[in-house]
Amino acid sequence: MSDITKDAAPAGEVDPALLEILVCPLTKGPLRYDRAAGELISDQARLAYPIRDGIPIMLPDEARRLDD
């Protein structure tokens, strides 16, 4: 999926019901869904969690640091 560029959901479709309730695993605070980047962003933890093949990867070790 990652090499295909689509307008709708570049990183695969995530279950919308899951998106609604997901929180940051570290802070338990809210997440922002960046649909274009296929990322779930925790502003409090300064981490962007990737979505791969429609699966949110909620692991801090796999997340992109926002400071970078």
């Binding site: 019901a17 929180v23 695993p25 570290l26 338990k28 699966i55 909620m58």
Partner: protein
């Protein structure tokens, strides 16, 4: 709402929870703050998750076949009994932790659960699960989530049922997993654990030992070409807390009316506890 603001205690001291009586002499003694069991070895706490991940990356493609061989097919009966015990209804959401290739999630959906969140720390296991779900025509009500069971990305009181089958022994901080499972349960929700336990039928013990330490690693070497991973799996089974120790750990995590039931003479046990 108070729980939501509690930061995870990553480096807090932990009780020495694991029972090690079943381990052979020379097995790693565990329980201090800097090391943890990885099979019979003691490894630095921060290394266990990565080591476990390597094991499951390695075994993922043949995991289901190996489960059948390793348990002589018994794991199917254990899992069916487990899902029946969970009894998730059409109106309920089940969070399955360390759900791997989907055995519990699929059975729960087929058994009438309204919604199942299949979670695992290992993306390769979830990819296998996605393929299996397609083959079985399961889509409605099924959601995939990659997470560490010690840090669940769900709000407090968000699901009716939580489960972990053959997963807790691979977690570094078992009390943290139990606390997190309780946190995400709604009041009146129930947690279920299926895990290897302590054989309580004496006649079974020698046979079980020979099977675990002679046959399993060889099966792993022949079928999966990975003796080390299956050696770890056999060892980790013996390092897991016995029935009473796990029940105590669950009470410590705030779960109530904790109970357990042995299957196959205690080779495995189903533990349950409520959030009230």
């Amino acid at each position: 709402m108070t729980e939501r603001n509690t930061p995870p205690e990553r480096n807090a001291p932990r009780p020495a929870g694991a029972a090690i009586e079943a381990a052979p002499e020379g097995a790693a003694s565990i329980g201090n703050d800097s090391t943890i069991d990885f099979g019979f070895r003691a490894v630095p706490r921060e290394e266990k998750a990565g080591l476990v991940r390597q094991v499951f990356d390695s075994v993922a493609p043949r995991y289901d076949l190996m489960n059948d061989l390793m348990s002589l097919g018994l794991h199917r009966a254990w899992k069916s009994a487990f899902v029946a015990a969970i009894g998730a209804s059409r109106r309920e959401t089940l969070l399955d932790l360390a759900g791997g290739t989907g055995d519990i999630a699929f059975r729960a959906l087929e058994g009438g659960a309204g919604r199942v969140i299949l979670s695992d720390i290992n993306p390769s296991m979830l990819q296998v699960a996605q393929g299996r779900a397609l083959e079985r025509g399961l889509a409605a009500g099924l959601t995939f989530l990659c997470t560490d069971a010690e840090h669940i990305p769900l709000p407090d009181r968000s699901v009716e049922k939580a489960s972990i089958a053959f997963g807790l022994r691979n977690c570094t901080d078992k009390p943290a997993v139990l606390r997190e499972a309780r946190r995400v349960l709604r009041p009146g929700g129930r947690f279920h654990c299926l895990e290897f336990s302590r054989v309580e039928v004496a006649a079974l013990a020698p046979l079980y030992d020979a099977w675990s330490f002679q046959v399993l690693p060889r099966l792993g070497a022949r079928i999966a070409r990975d003796a080390e991973s299956y050696q770890y799996l056999a060892e980790s089974i013996r390092m897991f807390p016995d029935q009473e120790s796990l029940a105590a750990m669950m009470r410590e995590a705030g779960l109530e009316r904790v109970a357990h039931r042995n299957l196959s003479g205690g080779i495995v046990a189903i533990h349950t506890g409520w959030r009230l």
